[in-house]
Every structure is written in C-alpha cells, then in structure tokens.
Amino acid sequence: MDPNTAGWALVVALFLPLAGAGLLTLIPARLDAEIRRAAVAISAVGFALVAVITASFDYSRAGELQFTTDVAWITAIDARFSLGMDGISLPLFFLTYLLTLLCAIYTTKHLPSPGKPKAFLALMLLLQTGMAGTFVAFDLILFFIFFELTLVPMFFMIGMWGGPRRDYASVKFFLYTLFGSIFMLVAFLAIYFQAGADTWSIIGLSEMAPFGSTTFQTWAFLGVFLGFAIKVPVWPFHTWLPDAHTEAPTVGSVLLAGVLLKMGTYGFIRIALPILPDGAARFAPMIGVLAVIGIVYGSLCCLAQTDVKRLIAFSSVGHMGFVMLGIAAMNEAGIQAALFGNIAHGVITGMLFFLAGSMHERYHTREIAVIGGGMLKKMPVYGVLFAYVAIASLGLPGLAGFWGEFAAMWAAISPGLGLADTYGGLYLGLVIFAAIGTVLTAGYFLWLIQRINLGEPPERWASEPLADVQAIEWVSWLPLLALILALGIFPRLLFGVQDAAVTNLVGFLGG
C-alpha cells in the first residue's frame, strides 16, 4: 500500500466501525453470542487494516502527512473533509484500534447489567469512529465534529451500564465536556476570521501563524484551552473524571483513560500550540503550574482513596499532569515526553482499569479494606499482573511509565520559546514539585500493592473459590502487558516515529 496514494485506506478504517455499528443493530437481539462475535470480527478487521497502514507508513518521512484525503465538504464555510496522518497521529490512531479490539474481546465474556450487548457494542464502535477521527482530522471543523461525536456514546455507556451513581456521573461528564468544547468552537471561529484565509486547515493555519495581536491570541488560546483542559483533564477542571471513571463499566473506563483523555493533550499539541504560539507562550507558565498542582493533588487524593477504581482514576489526574508539564515546557523534548506519556498512560491505565474491573467481578467490591490483602496467595497470577502494572504506573525505569515522566521533567528544566529567561526559576521549582509528586506516586501505588497483594487473605475470602486469570482475559490483556515492557526497554519505538513530526511542529512554534 503506497502511503502517498492510499488515502482510501484511512477513510475505510475510520468509517468501518460506524458501518459495523449499523450492521450490529440489524442483528436480532436474541442472537446474543453472535452479536458479540460479530463485534470482535468488525473490530478485528479494522485493526488488521490499521496494522497494514502502520506497516506501510513511510517512516523516513514521518514528519509529513500520509494517507491523505482532501475533498470539499461544506463549501459555504470552506470546511473540507481532510484526513491524513503523520508520526504524531499514527501511535494514537493505532492505540485506538488496538484498545477497541481488546475491549470487544473482553466483552464476549464480561458485560455488566443490563446486558444488551447489541446496544453496548454499537455504541462502542460509534465511539471508536469519533476517537479515531479526532487523531486524523486535519480540518478544524472536522476535528471538532469527531471530538464531539464521542460524547453521546460515552454518555450512554456510563449512563446505562454504569455503577450506582451513573445518573450523576454521566450527566456531569456530558455537560462538563460540552461546556469546554463550545468555548473551543467559538475560539476556532475567531481564529478562522482572524486568519482571513478562508481555510480551516490545521496545517495551513499553523503555517500562517502567528497572526492577530497578542490580545487576540490570548483570548483565542483561552477558549481552546478550556475545551482541551477539561478533556485532559487539567486541575482544577478534573472533577468530572473520578466520577465518570468510577461509575463507567470496565470497557468504558478503559477507553476513557486509554483514548478519550488523549484527545485533549493531542489537541493542545496539534492545534493550540502551532496555531496560537504567542498565546501558548503566555499561557505556558500557568499550564505548568496547573500541571504540577495536578500531579501533587492527584497523588494526595490517591493516598486518601478507599476504592481501587477511584484511586486509579485519581492517578490519571497525576499522570496527565506530567503530560501537561511536558507541553508547558514548549520545546521538542517536552512535546516528545508529552506524546510518550500519552501513549504510556493509555496502555498502563487502560490495563489497570481492566484489572480493577476483573477484581470487582471476583470480589464484588472495590473497597481496599474489604478485599483486605492476600491476593498473591489467593490468585497468584492475577496478583503478579496487578503488581507489574501498578509498578509500571508508578514510573519504574524499564517499564513504559518511566520515560514520559522522566523526559517531561528533564524538558521542563530548560523550557523553550525564551521561557527559560523569564520563568527559569519557576520552571525549576515546578520540576522539584513534580519530583516530589513521583515519590508520592510511588508511595500510594506501593501502599496499594501492600494492602491488596500481601498478607493473608481475610476470613471471608479464605473459603471462597476465586478464579485466577481466565483465558479470555489473557487474550485481551497480553498485548497491553507486552507493550508496557516493550515501550519501557525500547522507547525509540515511539520516540523514533514521532521525532520528525515533532520537529516540524516545534518549527511552527518558532522555538
């Protein structure tokens, strides 16, 4: 497949899940098992296609857009249907298809009440098109549509298959995210008219930047910032996340942590920074401060949690703080770190949510105190996996979690765009606090492992036959477990792909 001409492959891969969702709704609801298998088949075909795309991607030109499609869409407002992928898009696009396939496999055996696999899987596939489209859309309007398209399916996923407080969590998720994204839309329109070039092309606008006065850039950046910061989420806009994560069904949490949060950081890197470099430079110190508050605050909250899933949710706030710190550094190393942290967090935290979901199915509780320890004795393999992923999440060198955090702090010591001159001291302070954050992170994860894995299983579980890791779980978890190790010992796997594209992007920043 020639990456210069095979734009169709990307279009097919993108809309295959949508067509699949339509197909699923046609199958009668009583064919329960067949529906689940069909969903696996659909997402497997999609994944296979994306694998082929990944294989035929021209890595020597990873900085340029490949597999492009560009046709007129809404002529009245000059919006174009413009798709493509470069070294930044590719890993996130790949992760989306991988996680969806694994979730489909996982759903063949596990689905919370009220069942209804048809609706659940159709929503998941619809969600997939929205998520994947966000990473390959190169027109602001098209990007916005895909970005927003994820809201409705995720709302239903949380609201119909979620935990006891699902009503509250689903509505809060929807409204909070919507609030930010409309401000983003206003900012997009302001950018469009300010540029005055009758184009929404992300690349085109990046090349024209900077335009408009500093005041304009500041206000436009504020609008875009609200949209993406809520999605990431950056402290103090994070309050929807613990609720949404805790109440969402396992698959929902995995996709939320694995892909949805990434759309926010991706948006910062792809849109906010290159198109509004002056605004970004003014906001960078503030983003850095918020990021570090997020890191420390997230870790402290984790120490106080009694519910495993809620703890993992709060750990996301901390981890995304490191990603934002990388972005706040505004230099090549920082962006690289942010993108790496993105993928690493998606793989690790996605896996943690899988584990938390399985734990809940076995113990029927997520309270750490009720589980009460001894998992290594009760379910040895499961206990080892849990320890492995938790340690990866706390950032142990040699596993995926390390590189994003380390590189982000390293990059923030010497921020780009001349920030080092004015804010050098501030950034140094930020790095110190971030380092304290890593210690706290290690603290709460080790404590979690101690409370769940070690010791003797309490009375009530001693006689209970708890199944160890099952075949279906192995199938859906192994790729993630392998990726955690692979990215940890061979980070070039990702850094290498992203390198050229990040260099281009930083070129737009003028840094």
Binding site: I74, E148, L175, I182, A190
Partner: protein, 489 residues
C-alpha cells in the same frame, strides 16, 4: 394596476384548497370526513411546486407591497414543508379527539396562507394583514378541544395576548407612519436615514413598539407568558404548528421590519434585542429545568430556542452589510433546523399521548422498549435541539457563533458566553428525558406503541433530515449564502 398572478400562485393554490376542504367537509359524512386531510396535503404539494417555480427570480407586484425573491421563497418552502408535516401528525389525531375536521383543516390552511404572505410583505399594512391572518385562525384552533376546559382557557389567554400585541404593534406602526409619511418599508428606511428623525425618542419608542409586537409572536421573554399554557392546552398538532410555523412567521416578519425598515436605527434596537435574547434563552432554559410535563418542557425549550434565534438580531449594526447579512443567514438556517427538529419532537409526543394519554416525563420511562423507533427519534431530536454533533442543531448554533465571529465585539462575546452557558443548561433537561427513555425501567402494563404509518413517516423523514443535514449542512447553507437580499434592501 397590473397584478402578477404568478407571484401569488402559491397563495392562490392554498386558498382554493382551503375552500375545497371546507366544501368537502359538508359533502362527506362520518368517518369519510378524515379524507379532507389527504386533499389538504395534495393542495400543499401543489403550492410547493408553485413556490419552487418562483425560485431564482424576483417579482414585484401590488405597488411594491409584495415581493417574491429567494428570501421569501425559502421561507415559503419552510412554511409549506412544516404544513405538510403538521398535516401528517394531524391525521388520526383530529378524528380520534373528535375535533371538527373540516373547520380544523380550513383554519390550518388559512393560517398558513398568512404565513406565506409574511416574508413577501414590504409594507407595514401588508405585514399587519399577514400577521393577523396567521393569528386569528390560530385563536380558534387552540380552543378546538371544546370539551376540555383547559383548552378553552388557553385559547382565551392566547386571544387576549394576541390582540394586545396586535394593538401595540398597530400603535407603533401608526406613529412610524406619522414620522415618515409612508408605509413602504424601504421608504421608511430612506426617510429615517435622510432626516434627523433618527434620534427623536418618540420615533425610537414607536420602533420598539413594533418590535415588541413581534416579540409576543415569537414568545420572547418577557412577552412569553402565554406560550407554555397555550401549547399545553391546545390540540397537540396545533401546539407544534404554533411552536414552529407561527414562530418562524414571526421571525420572518421581524427580519423584514428590522433589517429593511429600521436598519438606519439598528444601533439602537440591536442591543435591545440582544439583551432580550439573553433574557429569553436564560429564562426559558431555567424554567424548562423545572418541568415535569413533556409538552411544557418543549414549550419552554422553544422559548429558549427563540432566544438563540434572537442572538443574531443583537449583532445588527447600521450600515454594516457583512454583519447584517451574516445575522440574517444565521436566523434563516436556525429556523430551518428548528422546524425539522421541533416538529419531530412534537410528533413523537403526539404518538405517545395518542395511545396512552401520557405526557409526564416520568411516564416516558422505558419508551426504548415500548416503541424503539419513537425513542430513537425523540433522542435524535432532543440531541439536535441541544446542538450535539452530527445533527443539524450543531450547525444551527454554529451559524450563530459564526455571525458573532464575523466581526468580534465585546457585546458579541457576551452573547456568545450566554449562548454557551445556555446550551449546557439545556442539555441538562434534554438528557434527562433521554435518560428516562433509555435507562429507566418501563412501568408495567403499558402497551407497545404503534404510531401508524403517517406519523411514523413524518418522524422517520424528520429524523433522517436531522442527521443528513447534520453531516452535510451544505445542502441548506448553500441556499442561505445566496441571500444578501435583505441587507441590500
């Protein structure tokens, strides 16, 4: 005076249809009476054909009182399309609720004749006649559920408020005539622009009186009190017609008066209507949050929607053609989108009430299992009213924000801020209905819903329309971009 009969052909076709309907009602007996509905639909299709033929040209007749241009044709198509949908959802409803069908359809068609006149009017007198032709049959239709005291009450309320607003408007018009010496809209604009009357307080007051008259028609806060009671008491197809067609007619009149006749004082009425827009959407949404009855919820939601549509009026500026044209386009596009999604929502409400007599939101629980098509339809319509992606509602909001962003001012940013806040508030109650339908268990013993062919067809067509326009809004935005006419006068 030479009359251009081609220009008024759609109105003629509809008038003839109305008379045939009235005569047929006398001729038919018993159950056969319901066949006046297809006859009316046939006449509507005829009028649509006649209107489409007028596309592209510009015809002026009746001493420049009456103009048929693309702006007018687009509005006429909007009204006729709405009429077709209202006829679709009235089938069976009229028969089952023992409404006098001949009268009902005759009045419905008459009211729509008034609407067809509205966007073509270029004269204050003509405008007033059109407005009254819309309103007077509606007064009667609201009260058509004769045995229901509630229906009579709402008709009376509607009548009193309607007459009051007409009186205010007429008073304002008479003073405008006194100042300018003409009732022709372009003449008024020229007169205001040329003289130094633009700053006379009494002229501005009379301009406001005219605008307030339209404010009642489009149920802008604080002139909205009649709307929820009237919608709730009226027969449901009439409520749908009032919430969509009659409101769109009010807006078409407001566009003409505001942007043609009063354009030279736009700097004065622009901010006033902008503030009204903020009030209307905020009050509408906040009150909608409290509603337990779906029709009342839709009523307050349509008050809020009127607030959104008023936002572009708040942007209007004297002499700034780019901004004014963008504002008019936004109004037009929003009205088209609004018609599609709001009639759809009322259609589903009718289908549910017809079978079960239920209209409280709690009783929509489990609708997804009792009538999946209806639940899916209502979900799409509500998401679209809110402005979720891949529905036409998103582009409607987009058009408004686009109009704001053409030339950013502080006032525009404030309006955009309120628009965003209100969109979020509105989703809160739309989502509540959606959640009830899909996530709550259905009460025992309720029948499966079989809405019947006509109603299903209307719901499906509108649902597909909502989604197709949501993906390809260019199908309509390309129309409205041809429309610089009113800004030019």
């Amino acid at each position: 005076m030479q009359i251009d009969f081609i220009a008024i052909l759609p109105e003629i076709v509809l008038t003839v249809t109305a008379l045939i309907v009235l005569a047929l009602d006398l001729a038919l007996r018993g159950d056969a009476k319901q066949f006046v509905n297809p006859v009316a639909a046939l006449g509507t299709v005829g009028a649509i054909v006649a209107t489409v033929l007028l596309w592209g040209g510009e015809r002026v007749t009746f001493n420049e009182m009456y103009v048929v241009d693309d702006f007018a044709v687009l509005f006429k198509l909007l009204f006729l399309g709405t009429l077709l949908a209202v006829l679709g959802i009235s089938w069976r409803y009229a028969a089952e609720n023992r409404i006098f069908q001949g009268e009902y359809y005759f009045l419905l068609l008459t009211s729509f004749i008034g609407m067809l006149l509205m966007p073509s009017s270029r004269d204050l007198i003509m405008l007033f006649i059109a407005l009254e032709t819309v309103s007077v049959p509606a007064f009667v239709m609201v009260g058509m559920r004769k045995r229901d005291l509630y229906s009579s009450e709402s008709a009376l309320k509607f009548f009193l408020i309607g007459v009051l607003s007409a009186a205010l408007m007429l008073f304002g018009m008479s003073m405008v005539y006194g100042f300018t010496g003409t009732t022709n809209l372009s003449g008024i604009a020229a007169e205001i622009a040329s003289g130094d009357t633009a700053t006379v307080p009494l002229l501005l007051a009379s301009v406001m009186l005219v605008l307030v008259g339209f404010g009642f028609k489009i149920s802008a806060v604080p002139f909205h009190f009649w709307a929820p009671d009237t919608y709730a008491g009226a027969p449901m197809p009439v409520a749908a017609m009032l919430a969509v067609a009659s409101k769109a007619a009010g807006f078409s009149g407001l566009v003409i008066v505001a942007f043609i006749a009063f354009e030279p004082v736009a700097d004065v009425w622009g901010p006033v209507l902008g503030v009204l827009a903020v009030l209307t959407m905020t009050v509408g949404n906040l009150v909608a949050l409290q509603q337990r009855d779906l029709i009342r919820l839709l009523a307050y939601s349509s008050v809020a929607q009127a607030g959104y549509i008023l936002v572009p009026f708040g942007l209007a500026r004297t002499g700034s053609e780019v901004v004014n044209a963008a504002a008019i386009e936004a109004v037009l596009f929003y009205l088209i989108a609004y018609a599609v999604m709001n009639i759809g929502a009322f259609g589903v409400a009718i289908a549910v009430e017809r079978r079960t007599g239920l209209r409280s939101i709690a009783e929509y629980a489990g609708l997804s299992s009792r009538g999946p098509l209806l639940a899916l339809g209502l979900t799409v319509f509500l998401l679209s009213l809110g402005g979720a992606p891949a529905t036409v509602g998103l582009w409607a909001k987009f058009a408004i924000i686009e109009a704001i962003a053409v030339d950013i001012t502080l006032f525009g940013v404030v309006l955009a801020g309120f628009l965003v806040l209100n969109t979020v508030i509105a989703f809160f109650y739309y989502l509540r209905v959606i959640k009830t339908m899909w996530m709550d268990a259905a009460p025992e013993g309720l029948p499966r819903l079989q809405p019947g062919f006509n109603l299903s067809a209307v719901v499906v067509v509108l649902m597909v329309g909502t989604l197709v326009l949501g993906v390809l809004p260019g199908l309509v935005t390309d129309f409205s971009s041809m429309m610089s006419l009113v800004a030019a006068g």
